[in-house]
């Protein structure tokens, strides 16, 4: 009776700890697409099953493995899939990066509204924001596609279909490079386009405030 009471007590005391774990787990499963995002990323494979995605990649990549290559991939791919899992875990950082880009974009859009309210000309700035929005969304799409390809690469039965494994690996490599390029593009746009525009807008604001002060005098 005493042991049963202790077990019940231990179980009840573990409830908060377990619930925290469950919350964390649920949050992690939702990590494929950033939940705070206002934009839902598109992988280009919506509605397709794993097999359909693999077939699609095989057609896109058009790589045919030789008999020797097939044998090598078949014997080594299981171990490789374990290493893909670690790459998958590392790829979760992309979500954080995307969240940063999106936060900056939101901040810049809020600034646009404030500038408009102040009577500052924001025509160029708005065009630049539209471009930046597209770039950020492209980044989100490519990041989602990259993570999907890694997931497929880790889950597919590579011993049965080594061609699909090879095609998925090639797709993952391409998408990784694309995500890297997208990030570089966004950062370049910040420094080369957005920042100079912000400086210009700041100067306009200073001039406007100066005019208002002089007018008030």
């Amino acid at each position: 009776m005493k042991i049963r009471l202790k077990l019940v007590l231990a179980a009840v005391l573990l409830v908060p700890v377990m619930s925290v774990g469950v919350v964390g787990a649920v949050e992690q499963t939702g990590g494929d697409i950033p939940q705070t995002s206002t934009y839902t990323p598109k992988t280009g494979n919506e509605g397709l099953s794993l097999q359909q995605r693999l077939e699609k990649r095989k057609t896109e990549i058009k790589t045919k493995l030789s008999a020797v290559e097939k044998t090598r991939v078949t014997t080594r791919c299981k171990a490789a899939q374990g290493k893909v899992a670690s790459a998958q875990a590392r790829a979760k950082v992309i979500d954080t990066r995307y969240a940063g880009y999106e936060k900056a974009l939101t901040h810049l859009q809020q600034l646009k509204d404030k500038l408009k309210a102040k009577g500052v000309d924001t025509t160029v700035y708005e065009q630049q924001l539209a471009v930046l929005t597209t770039k950020t969304q492209t980044y989100a799409d490519d990041a989602a596609a990259y993570k999907e390809s890694l997931k497929d690469l880790a889950e597919l039965d590579c011993a049965v279909d080594p061609d699909a494994f090879k095609a998925s690996l090639e797709t993952s490599r391409k998408l990784r490079a694309k995500v890297e390029a997208d990030g570089k593009d966004i950062r370049s746009y910040y420094t080369m386009t957005i920042k100079p525009t912000l400086l210009s807008l700041r100067q306009q604001l200073v001039n406007k405030e100066g005019q208002n002060t002089e007018g008030g005098m």
Partner: protein, 207 residues
């Protein structure tokens, strides 16, 4: 040594009344004369204050006293327990009269043990309550966070409209500086380091 009975009593000689009851009356003189020559008393009445009324009569008939036949004196088995019972009853009565003033150490120990026994149950109840409260708070916090994210995710137009309503006062240079800082912070990202090319090379994967 001619007459042993005058000086010494035999071991198995029955003792007078009070001795039978386990209470020795040292005041009572011992018989000096031989039992046969001694005048037989009509009866020896022993008064014991604790003796209940229903006990066997405390007098010895003369014919019994005069006969020197050894009698195996076996005290009634319920004599001593009766005394204990009476004492216990007296204690119980005293306790009933004044329940606060229980001086019996055994009862005090029992009471202390009972109070100690009750304490773990209280501790368990408190621990369970704390655990349930913590679980509830966790669930509540999670649900609240989930709801807020869902709302922003489901209605992007509403989310973008909200800042317009709150920030229609007009921009200042501080707002521009703040936006510029945000851009700098986002520009600190480096995907080449986050997801290195080497992750998916044939060498790394062992292909």
């Amino acid at each position: 040594m001619a007459d042993d009975t005058t000086t010494e009593e035999p071991k198995d000689t029955p003792k007078p009344g009070p001795v039978r009851r386990g209470v020795m009356d040292i005041q009572r003189p011992r018989p000096q004369a031989p039992l046969a020559s001694r005048p037989a008393p009509a009866s020896v009445k022993v008064e014991t204050p604790a003796a209940p009324a229903d006990e066997e009569p405390a007098f010895i008939p003369a014919d019994e006293e005069s006969a020197p036949t050894p009698v195996v004196d076996t005290p009634p088995p319920n004599k001593r327990p009766n005394i204990i019972e009476q004492a216990a009853a007296a204690d119980a009565k005293a306790a009933a009269d004044n329940p606060a003033a229980t001086h019996d150490p055994h009862q005090q120990m029992l009471a202390a043990h009972a109070s100690k026994k009750g304490r773990p149950v209280a501790v368990i109840v408190v621990a369970v309550l704390i655990a349930l409260v913590m679980a509830g708070l966790t669930a509540f916090a999670y649900m609240k966070t989930k709801d807020s994210t869902k709302t922003t995710g489901d209605h992007p137009s509403q989310q973008s409209a909200a800042p317009e309503e709150t920030h229609t006062q007009g921009a200042t240079t501080a707002d521009v500086d703040s936006a510029s800082k945000e851009v700098d912070s986002a520009a600190a990202a480096n995907e080449a380091a986050d997801i290195p090319e080497s992750d998916l090379t044939d060498q790394t994967l062992g292909l």
